[in-house]
Symmetry: C2
Subunit: 135 residues, 2 copies
């Protein structure tokens, strides 16, 4: 377990042609940063939006960050979190990038998953629900 | 605002060829049900898994449920939550299904979105993170 005050955290989003996914990721990033626990908090996107995972990881390494946590902001595991994102994490410091990545301790977090706090939120959303627009 | 004890809630998942999405949805469903707030709690999937949204809504209506909340278990809005799911909700009680849906009050909830409880979970996931498998 590395010290949190030396960690950089990268919130990884799915990416979307619509703006919602990026907006939610950026606001979650801001709120994680506000907690003041981690040295750096960044967002990166698996696809469609920028910056890419590779770009963010390489820039953090270039800036001297030695402990980076890749955090998939996904509800559940799936092909994206078990295959696509780990592949990008590995290639970020492969080949010509091996030098800048050689001292980086890169770890990968689990997705949000089943959690009573998610259950609490879902129940709140039910209570706030409204008729479908256009009906 | 309808009375919660008369409501049926349908947790709507994205659906996936892998089992994770369905497993998370079913476990969240079980935990919402355990809270004992709502009359019925079901899961439905937008694609790939069953049961479908239409099937679940029609069965709840046939069973006499008059208040149904469709709850998209998604992190953020996107084309699925703003277009695909609302379209399925509308067609569930259209045409030949209009009769069984005529007395149903159907409402639609917002996705999980930005919430301090999500921030808490993300920070926990960072603290639990591990080296990528295969490294």
């Amino acid at each position: 377990m590395v010290k949190e005050e030396d960690m950089a955290v990268v919130l990884i989003g799915h990416g979307s042609k619509l703006a919602y996914n990026k907006e939610v990721l950026e606001e979650l990033r801001r709120r994680v940063e506000l907690r003041g626990i981690f040295k750096e908090v960044k967002v990166a996107f698996m696809q469609l939006n920028s910056p890419s995972i590779e770009e963010v990881l390489r820039n953090l390494a270039k800036d001297g960050m030695k402990k980076i946590v890749a955090l998939p902001v996904f509800l559940a595991n799936g092909a994206h979190t078990t295959e696509d994102i780990p592949e990008k994490l590995k290639t970020s410091f492969a080949g010509e990038w091996a030098d800048i990545g050689q001292d980086v301790e890169l770890t990968y977090a689990k997705p949000i998953g089943v959690d009573e706090r998610v259950v609490d939120i879902l129940i709140d959303r039910v209570k706030e629900s409204e008729p479908i627009k256009g009906e």
